[in-house]
Amino acid sequence: MNRPSPGAEKLDSPLLQLDKATLRFGGLAAVSDLDLSLGRNELVGLIGPNGAGKTSAFNLITGVYPPSGGSILFDGRPMANRKPHQIARAGIARTFQNIRLFASMTVFDNVRTAARLHCPRGVRNALWRGRSFRDGEKEISGQVMELLEIFQLGKFHAAAATSLSYGDQRRLEIIRALATKPKLLLLDEPAAGMNATEKAELMRLIQFIKDRFQVSILLVEHDMKVVMGICERIVVLDYGIKIAEGTPAEIRAHPKVIEAYLGD
């Protein structure tokens, strides 16, 4: 790409840009020709009825499936056909619709595993156990505990991850994603299974994360109250196609959206 002044340009250019991104399973297009752009420190909601292709869009962005067509740019770099761990390294972290914590590990170790991303020490270091190993482990421990404390999970650091309450497990998944120091955080139905109080708290939490960690957030969510309450912009999918995009107020009044959700 032709960019004379990357520093200034980069901040203006969108962080994530999908251009006609398509994901086909055989004859079924789970996502077709999706254009999506996300700015820095922006909070965007991705909604749609069941089976609209929201999670497929996530899987496309995070490299779980390679796109069948179109392009995905992140930070100006092409992401299509990269492996999930390479995409994570580039700065995209995610949570999962059905919680996927590391079940055999403690709360601390769950976060520690993700925190290693930016301190690449390997086999030799672990075997020799010299000074740089100990310093590195101490540094990572510090980062992990700091993160856990921010989210009030510090006191549970030695507990089994699966012993946490459902809401705390969801929070731990978000913390784990943040430990990779992402520029973009993808949240896949974080409010699923939560009651009204927990949802209200989650909305505060997402807002807090966005401000404190200066990340962009793409949020897939079923709960309209959550999405309408915190998102600056909303994209609506139906049958893998983008049918609307706009502010919460615009989306609420959009005839196509009403049709998709309520039928005609």
Binding site: A88, F102, S163
Partner: protein, 308 residues
């Protein structure tokens, strides 16, 4: 194991092994040879535990890696006549390392294509690999074919056997008990989540296979120089299975448990000499009972998530 004292443990074990080997000639040689078997089985079980237990890859080919190490080390030391103790030590350690390195190469070879496979499919491929190795040695006339290969030197002693076992335990424990090593468990627990956290599952799996195979090769070399006679049949499917049994019995991903299981399962047949032919029945029975009563392993007492 406490991370801080890991190196002290390793050096202590080596020193102890050396001291015992000095006075070993006073011991009953029957039991001495059994202690070598124990050490060899500890190496095999602990190294397989890295692959099967910590990384969650079901490998049934450990005897194959062992065979590669055994034949490599035996062929190397057979080139030498009688040597003074010092030269013998140098040649032997070189042969063991060469056997381990070749086995690690085999592990890399198996590791790469099998990475797209999971669970039972991987088990079948590694099983096939183990059989291929065995059949290759069976048909290699240069190393005696099916008649077997006699090994000129009985160099395996207490020091070598327990030194290597301590090294294997140290390496596996040190790898796993580090931030880097949590990646093995992450890959086992949830590969999709692990890769979403920037962990390259392929790398971890190949590393587990290579390190595991290396120590299986070293164990093979020790085995060859303890028995002084190796046949391809000694590295058959049943041998792989009995190592797997040790890992399952001890508790997948529990190094201490796996060590205890290796000791127990080496001693058990000795006490069951009178019914030796029925040993395999006992093995199978033990597995069935174990899976029903203690699926987490005989020596896993803490709940999995609580493990430090």
């Amino acid at each position: 194991m406490n991370i801080r004292h890991a190196k002290t443990f390793l050096l202590g074990a080596l020193a102890l092994g050396f001291l015992v080997s000095v006075v070993a000639s006073h011991f009953n040689s029957y039991w001495l040879f059994i202690t070598y078997d124990i050490a060899i089985n500890v190496i095999l079980a602990v190294s397989l535990n890295l692959i099967n237990g910590y990384t969650g890859q079901f490998s049934l080919g450990h005897a194959g890696f062992m065979a590669v190490g055994a034949y490599t080390a035996a062929v190397i030391t057979n080139q030498f006549g009688d040597l003074n103790p010092f030269a013998a030590g140098a040649v032997f350690s070189g042969a063991l390392l060469a056997g381990g390195a070749l086995a690690a190469g085999a592990g890399l070879l198996v590791g790469i294509p099998t990475l797209r496979l999971r669970g039972d499919y991987l088990a079948i491929v590694t099983l096939g690999f183990g059989e291929i190795i065995r059949v290759i040695f069976q048909n290699m006339q240069g190393v005696g074919g099916a008649r077997g290969l006699s090994v000129a030197h009985g160099w395996t002693d207490f020091f070598w056997a327990f030194g290597a076992a301590a090294a294997a335990v140290y390496v596996v424990a040190a790898l796993v008990h580090s931030t880097y090593g949590r990646g093995f468990l992450a890959v086992r627990d949830d590969e999709v989540a692990a890769s979403a956290m920037g962990i390259n599952p392929v790398r971890y799996k190949v590393t587990a296979f290579v390190v595991g195979a290396f120590f299986a090769g070293v164990a093979g070399g020790l085995y060859a120089h303890s028995k002084q006679f190796i046949t391809p049949g000694g590295f058959n499917f049943m041998q792989s299975v009995s190592i797997v049994v040790m890992v399952i019995l001890g508790g997948m991903g529990n190094t201490v448990g796996v060590i205890l299981a290796a000791v127990l399962l080496t001693l058990l047949p000795e006490f069951l000499r009178p019914i030796a032919e029925y040993r395999m029945i006992l093995y199978s029975l033990l597995l069935v009972v174990l899976m029903l009563a203690r699926p987490q392993g005989l020596f896993t007492f803490r709940k999995q998530g609580d493990a430090k």
